[in-house]
């Protein structure tokens, strides 16, 4: 087996435990899409156009509730801003790849692909390892996600509400939150972000999340500044 194939398989294997969480999450997103008035094709297209579950859910809710277009666009993008952080962390490694690779690999950049790759890369990793390990993880996840959301849309209303499957959404976020609050500024950002979100529950058109996330970043930055001054 060529090195590129070995690395691809390694990446796919490394991401498989995470698929256990991602595929049910995809199912939920699909079931949610089917339960709205939004055209299923528009809803499913978010899976391969946006390819970010949390942002998709929020986008679908905002589209369905007839929010302002500006809010429906801005809120998922704020949720997706964390990808800039991943992009920054991966940039030194991806700098070893061709410009064509640097242009298309970010399309499949997700929380999971980032976590898996960042923990595998060494400062002296070669270009083949960087590209194919990442692709093994990211494309496996992409395929699982597309299948999960399609099956979810197809099952649609047949999933009984008593299963409370929508709770997995909160659980996915809690799982993502744990590593992000390991620093004091991160914890401050989360506590303030979560607290303001509860206070801003009645804000119209989903603007509460934007206000809360901004407040969290500001509070966390102040904590960060006090820590480093």
């Amino acid at each position: 087996m060529s090195l590129s194939r070995v690395r691809f398989v390694e990446g796919a294997k490394a991401v498989s435990p995470i698929l256990l969480g991602a595929v049910p999450f995809g199912l939920i997103v699909g079931v949610t899409i089917a339960g709205t008035d939004i055209n299923n094709w528009v809803g499913w297209s978010t899976s391969w156009l946006v390819f970010a579950g949390a942002a998709q859910l929020v986008l679908i809710e905002l589209l369905n509730s007839g929010s302002l277009a500006a809010v429906a666009i801005a809120t998922p993008l704020i949720i997706n801003l964390r990808h800039a952080m991943y992009s920054a962390a991966l940039a030194p490694h991806f700098g070893k790849l061709s410009s064509a690779d640097r242009l298309w690999l970010p399309y499949v950049l997700t929380d999971q692909a980032f976590v898996i790759s960042a923990s595998r890369y060494e400062p002296d990793s070669d270009a083949t390892t960087i590209k194919y390990f990442y692709l093994g993880a990211a494309l496996t996840l992409w395929v699982g996600w597309q299948i999960g959301t399609i099956v979810g849309i197809t099952l649609g209303a047949q999933v009984p509400a008593e299963w409370s499957l929508d709770f997995t959404i909160a659980l996915v976020f809690l799982g993502l939150l744990a590593p992000a609050v390991s620093t004091r500024p991160g914890l401050v950002a989360a506590v303030v972000g979560g607290g303001v979100a509860v206070l801003a529950l009645d804000f119209p058109n989903g603007t509460g999340i934007i206000v809360a996330a901004t407040a969290g970043v500001v509070a966390g930055s102040i904590a960060d500044w006090r820590l480093h001054k």
Partner: protein, 104 residues
Amino acid sequence: MSPWLIVLLVALGTYLTRLSFIGILGDREIPTSIERPLRLVAPAAIAAIAIPELIAPAGPVDLSFDNLRLFAGLIAIVVAWKTRSIGWTIATGMTSLWLLDWLF
């Protein structure tokens, strides 16, 4: 605005966010003045979505014992903290919710 256009704009914005540093930075270092606030977007935005799901699952704030999602969520937080695994967090969180629902 048409839903298609909104989805396309979100897709474009998301792609550009993912491309950002990989596209412009090459193999140079990121200025810490940009990197530090960026690190905080994830905890702030994720908590802003997750915490209301636990404290106010049905809309208004509910801190009573009837709010099973709050308790299942607290168990999941401990598991998330200890295991750092989304899979285990979902498994224990859902099992806790079903058990609590069955018990009470």
